[in-house]
Symmetry: C2
Subunit: 149 residues, 2 copies
């Protein structure tokens, strides 16, 4: 493990009211895969992607109770569950500031994949630490409101 | 809504110990999309797919704590979260027996997509009725054990 990203705890406390006893998973969520380390945020992003997908699908499933499946697929798959949306939320939260990234690519502050993956990994860590219901409550505030038009 | 599939309640009680006060979502999970009805199991399958995906990813994430992301992606995406696996579980549970399907295609008992979708839709309905933790417990027994080699 490389160094803990600066101010990560302060950020988790201040923004999400998270006070993790075990900080390691949150640190892992912010380790870029280009670092020379087996431990990086890719596994958490893989998990977090499915956490966010379920929360988003449930939201639009309930909101669009009469829409047909084609419309629902379009809303979720093509519009909401995209790298671009997740990256935009990561930009708003300035997640990249807390990244542990040894050799940042030139575009790391604007790179959509890199930023989307940090958001997914953060929600993977929140899910493992807090369980599904808490994660949904947090996602309602920080994810779903940012997906509305 | 067409007729309630025969013995659906008996099946839900007997196999999953489910005693739904509100049977409508379970009925919906078994309505085939070829029926001449706006109400069919496609929306629930869309939701249920993301429920099962999260449960499966968490399982293999925890089980393979040292595997790299490539291995995890391969296990989940290419091996476990497939129509073929979901269809095989649906075959074991004989879900097709409870389908509300007006004009069954010739191969409906063996059609992988049709059977996988019924399983996904059933877990979408279980999730909406019972919440995530209960759904995970049920999936551990009926899905995860059937995904092991």
């Amino acid at each position: 493990m490389s160094k803990t990203p600066d101010n990560l705890l302060e950020f988790l406390n201040g923004t999400f009211a998270l006070y993790p006893e075990e900080i390691k998973q949150y640190e892992e969520a912010f380790i870029h895969s280009s670092n020379n380390s087996l431990l990086n945020n890719q596994r958490l992003a893989f998990l977090g992607d499915s956490v966010l997908r379920l929360i988003i699908r449930e939201h639009f499933f309930k909101k669009n109770s009469v829409s047909d499946i084609g419309e629902l697929t379009k809303i979720c798959g093509e519009e909401k569950e995209t790298n671009k949306n997740f990256a935009n939320i990561a930009f708003k939260l300035e997640l990249v500031k807390y990244m542990n990234i040894e050799n940042p690519p030139l575009d790391y502050e604007t790179n959509e994949t890199l930023n989307a993956e940090v958001l997914e990994a953060l929600f993977g860590a929140i899910y493992l630490n807090r369980g599904f219901e808490d994660t949904r409550r947090i996602a309602e505030k920080y994810i779903l409101t940012n997906l509305e038009p």
